[in-house]
């Protein structure tokens, strides 16, 4: 009998980036890299665990922008083209690295790419959502949703925006995965009092906060972060465990920084001659990551002095680190269960893209970890999903979580600083106008209805927290600024057209084709709800 539970939560998200006008759009490549390096390796690992009949449990949030991109046939087709180019490059690499210490790694890449092609095209019909749905239907993975476009909820001054974000997310989730999500990953774990009431209305039962979101809740939670609390609305909040996050997240103490793991920053996209690589980087000659990386982290040395990657050594470290992770969780759970009158739950949430994309061995780590937890004779730790935990412990303490996020410093600084504060003036104005439209045009049809839906899409795309985040981090800022401005500009133009009843249908069709997130979009999700109207009295 297990003494406590471990809930692994992966948050898979990428901003909605789709540029039909440009076959080789730089930022679109983020999706292709994540598919090859993260999503497919994870799926591959889960498939192997299922084949071996290992009953693992995992919570996976697939953000609606990602769901929509994975469903999109243009991006699917472009990914296949991308994969074919990479397979071609893999062949060349086999020859180039012949009789060098990089040859085994080159062979590994070729094999993995071939497997990726097979998994993507043949096993899952070019749509990885099929894989996620399969794991869900088998009861292995609890799929949860996220904010519609990953909008930052504490800065949505009108609750209608939060409704629209969550309602469109839930509808999109149901349409793709066949059932309503029980839980949500609130974007950036950013919570503010009141968000939970919207979640409650839309049938969501739990969400996650950073550690202090629950630890600093008012009243003080009896079990700290090792049991969920109920918001007054009845929605449960689970908090991130500090210890387990540090072991995986921390740049210095964390596993991903081990000397034998693969070095992210040495890529042949940057390291080889242009005449060799030009076909596989951006056609304008801009250097890009190709995913062919031949070095290990080695230690605290200059990038040029990194030693060759040895797959077997990395595998040994995976075995070692999974053992260490389980050992630490067992100690932690034994300690906690001696203090608590119920089984503690340790919540370990991570960005999915950390696994595979940044930490190349990450997906393998998870696979081995789940296997070891199952094989472990001690059975002190058991894997669980938050919903299963709530079913086991339906009575929980009531407290109001602390306003917080998982960004740097734990509050809203990342999304409200000198670099990005200018966006809120415009987003708030657009939101007011959108709510006004939704309230004033409850019954529409034809082109008017299409324009209203597109206005909703444009606003939601502008609300994505990714743009503010990129502006804060300082890389590819120009793109984020352009996206924010373009969507808001499109919105304002649509607003005028709708109000003046002169809709440019050609332009609208072009927008619908370009920014086609949420095929099932209903602008009425921005209407003011009963509850809000009453509150204003």
């Amino acid at each position: 009998m297990a003494k406590g539970y471990l809930a692994f939560v992966l948050h898979a998200h990428l901003p909605y980036i789709r540029h039909p006008e440009d076959e080789f759009f730089m930022e679109e490549r983020w999706l292709y890299e994540a598919i090859t390096e993260t999503y497919i390796p994870l799926i591959q690992g889960f498939d192997r665990l299922i084949a071996e009949n290992i009953p693992f449990k995992l919570t996976l949030s697939v953000s609606p922008p990602l769901v929509c991109m994975l469903n999109d046939s243009l991006l699917q087709q472009r990914y296949v083209n991308h994969l074919k180019r990479m397979l071609e490059l893999a062949e060349k690499e086999i020859h180039r690295t012949k009789d060098t210490e990089y040859h085994d790694t080159a062979k590994m890449y070729r094999q993995r790419l071939q497997e990726s092609y097979d998994i993507f095209c043949h096993r899952y019909n070019c749509n990885l959502n099929h894989a996620f749905k399969k794991f869900q239907d088998m009861g292995r993975v609890e799929l949860i949703t996220c904010g519609g476009t990953h909008g930052y909820m504490p800065f949505m001054q009108k609750e209608e925006s939060i409704y629209a974000q969550v309602e469109n997310a839930v509808n999109n989730h149901r349409r793709t995965f066949g059932k309503n999500p029980n839980g949500i990953w609130i974007p950036e774990c950013a919570y503010k009092e009141g968000v939970d009431r919207v979640l409650k209305e839309l049938g969501i039962k739990f969400f996650f906060t950073d550690t202090h979101g629950v630890l600093y809740a008012d009243r003080r939670p009896r079990y700290g972060i090792y049991a969920p609390i109920f918001c007054r609305s009845g929605v449960a909040a689970f908090a991130r465990d500090i210890e387990s996050s540090k072991q995986v997240w921390s740049a210095n103490e964390g596993y991903p920084g081990d000397v034998d793991y693969r070095e992210y920053y040495r890529d042949i996209g940057f390291d080889t001659d242009e005449e060799y690589i030009w076909e596989y980087i951006h056609p304008d000659g801009i250097r890009q990551n190709t995913g062919f990386k031949y070095h290990r982290i080695t230690g605290d040395v200059d990038l040029s002095e990194k030693a060759p990657y040895v797959p077997e050594w990395a595998e040994q470290k995976v075995q070692q680190h999974t053992g260490n992770f389980i050992f630490n969780r067992e100690k932690q759970i034994e300690h906690l269960s001696s203090l608590m009158d119920r089984k503690p739950i340790i919540v370990a949430p991570y960005d999915a893209e950390l696994f595979g994309h940044w930490w190349y061995e990450g997906p393998r780590f998870l696979e081995v970890l789940f296997k070891k937890i199952n094989d472990n004779p001690n059975k002190i730790v058991e894997l669980i999903t938050p919903m299963d935990y709530l079913n086991e412990y339906p009575c929980n303490q009531v407290a109001t979580p602390c306003e917080s996020s998982w960004g740097n410093n734990g509050y809203h600084y990342v999304w409200l600083c000198k670099e990005n504060d200018w966006i809120y003036r415009h987003i708030h104005e657009a939101t007011e106008r959108m709510v006004e439209l939704a309230n004033n045009y409850p019954h529409t049809y034809g082109v008017q209805s299409r324009a209203l839906n597109q206005a909703g899409r444009e606003l939601m795309l502008a609300q994505a927290s990714d743009w503010a985040f990129i502006m804060y981090t300082g890389t590819t800022v120009e793109y984020a600024v352009r996206r924010t401005k373009t969507h808001l500009h499109n919105f304002l133009r649509l607003y005028d057209m709708i109000r003046e009843n002169r809709i440019d249908e050609g332009w609208l069709s072009n927008l619908e084709y370009k920014n086609n997130i949420f095929p099932e979009m209903d602008y009425r999700s921005f209407r003011s709800r009963e509850t809000a109207q009453n509150a204003a009295v």
Binding site: R197, R222, G234, Q397, N490, N510, K514, N534, A535, V537
Partner: protein, 241 residues
């Protein structure tokens, strides 16, 4: 020296002519670069419920369309946002109408008077009417700024700000009033009394029982605020009163 003048004039004229012809050529005669219009076929022959179509390909746009946003929306608005336990951010805009109104009331020197943000600490105040704040601080700001970061200094304080100007006689004139915002908590709660709830709200009615007055309750009361520039921002989210 005098012989140089026709030479210099001639060279300048020649350069100007060259520049004009280049300009005309580049604007009107240079062939436009066009991306080829190639219909891309969906090569996947797997079974699909939908979307087996040929994709229309848009021309690659030479540059991003020009999409500068309006500088102002001509509205009266002052929005206050809590950033972390110690800082808030406020942005505002004063409409032309309001501006004229103030100028006609206080004279054309109005625009010269010092702009001030008056920061009211209204933590625990049931209904803020402009006079009953716990305390207030004045922050002098530039007359032409449209936003400001405000140091609050301590967590869990509820704040409301006025944007205004100080008249020469020392009188403070409010132009706009903000919504209320509360700095997030930054420590363990010192309230230990416990309340428990069963899943799916058997205790739904518990929401109406009030335990002491906390700042949150100010919002739950659903107070309507008068004389506020952006009253919609004061509405608590999803309040079920």
């Amino acid at each position: 020296m005098e012989t140089l003048i026709p030479w210099v004039t001639g060279t300048v004229l020649l350069l100007a002519a060259l520049w004009v012809s280049w300009y005309v050529w580049s604007n009107y005669f240079q062939p436009q670069r066009k991306a080829e219009l190639v219909p891309v076929k969906n090569k996947m022959n797997e079974e699909y419920a939908e979307e087996i179509i040929t994709f229309p390909e848009w021309e690659k746009e030479p540059d991003w369309p020009d999409s500068e946003l309006p500088h102002k929306y001509n509205k009266d608005r002052l929005v206050l946002m809590a950033r972390d336990p110690h800082w808030m951010y406020a942005y505002w805009e004063v409409s032309a109408t309001k501006q004229e109104e103030l100028c006609s009331k206080y004279g054309s020197e109005w625009n010269e008077y010092q702009s001030v943000i008056r920061l009211y600490d209204i933590t625990g105040v049931n209904f803020f009417d402009g006079t009953n704040a716990n305390s207030y601080t004045d922050i002098f700001i530039n007359n032409d700024s449209m936003d400001w970061y405000l140091e609050i200094g301590s967590p869990d304080r509820t704040i409301c700000v006025d944007l205004g100007r100080v008249l020469p006689n020392g009188e403070f004139v409010t132009v706009l009033r903000s919504n209320y915002a509360t700095t997030p908590r930054a420590s363990l709660s010192d309230r230990y009394d416990e309340e428990w709830m069963w899943i799916d709200g058997i205790y739904e009615s518990m929401g109406k029982i009030q335990f002491g007055i906390s700042t949150a309750l100010i919002y739950e009361e659903g107070v309507s605020v008068v004389n506020v520039s952006s009253p919609e921002f004061n509405r608590p989210m999803g309040n079920k009163k």
